[in-house]
């Protein structure tokens, strides 16, 4: 059972509001009754210590919703997500979030 959902973001990338809205939508749809914990990453040092591979990064009970990108170089940058149809996006797909919250 899911206990914790975190969204880490860097304010220099414009994608986190869209990611947060999508994430909340999936959380509500699943009736999880959980709040998304928001954490802003401010510095390269913080990115390093949090193993933050770019904005946004979403973790469910500590597990990245996109494991393939979880080990990317920590940095204050926009994160790349690869969608199911092969396209690139600055936010994870709905399916990635649904799978992570199963």
């Amino acid at each position: 059972m899911t206990e914790r959902i975190e969204l880490l973001y860097w304010d220099g990338c414009p994608s986190h509001p869209e990611a947060l809205a999508l994430l909340r939508s999936v959380v509500d749809e699943r009736g999880l009754g959980l709040e998304v914990e928001l954490r802003e990453v401010h510095s390269d040092e913080e990115a390093e210590s949090l193993r933050f591979p770019g904005s946004p990064t979403i973790r469910v009970d500590g597990r990245d919703v996109d494991p393939a990108g979880a080990d990317g170089r920590p940095s204050l940058s926009c994160r790349i997500y690869h969608l199911e149809d092969g396209r690139v996006s600055p936010v994870p797909s709905r399916k990635q979030l649904e799978d992570a919250l199963q």
Binding site: G12, P14, S15, S75, S77, I80, Y81, V88, S89, P90
Partner: protein, 176 residues
Amino acid sequence: MSLALQEQAPSFALPGVDGHEHTLDSYADADALVLIQSCNHCPYVQAWEGRMKAIQRDYADRGVRVVALNSNDRVRSPDDSFEEMVARAEHEGFNFDYLYDRDQSIARALGAERTPEVFVFDRDRRLVYHGAIDDNRDDRQVGRHYLRDTLDALLGGAASPIAETPAVGCTVKWRQ
């Protein structure tokens, strides 16, 4: 502060991924010059890259040149080194020039802040449009084609229907 509308394009002499140096005068024959502040690592750039290629393809015969500039600091963004630029251009089959603004002087002269961010210059190299390529990073949801509309107007001898829009994308990675 971004370059103002009707201001002249800045001069430049920059290495391209094709191994040649490119200057503003290299594009003297173009009826419209489209400079796009770009980079390798940004998901917004990657989402729009296909449309950048399509615009160069569709407007090449009408005297339009698309030129992408990468000014990102390679220390802060190792994926944006010149070597990585060469590799990406080859892998993605870029049909436009991709230039390396290593000292970031052209990005500063343009006042660029985001990637991708478009600057369209007319035959006299005066800025006529500045902003986004279109209104949605998702190519299936585009409603307004700002860059194409600007080029159509410009090549038809009319004023750009829209002069400025907000560029949406990653920040330029300035040297610290």
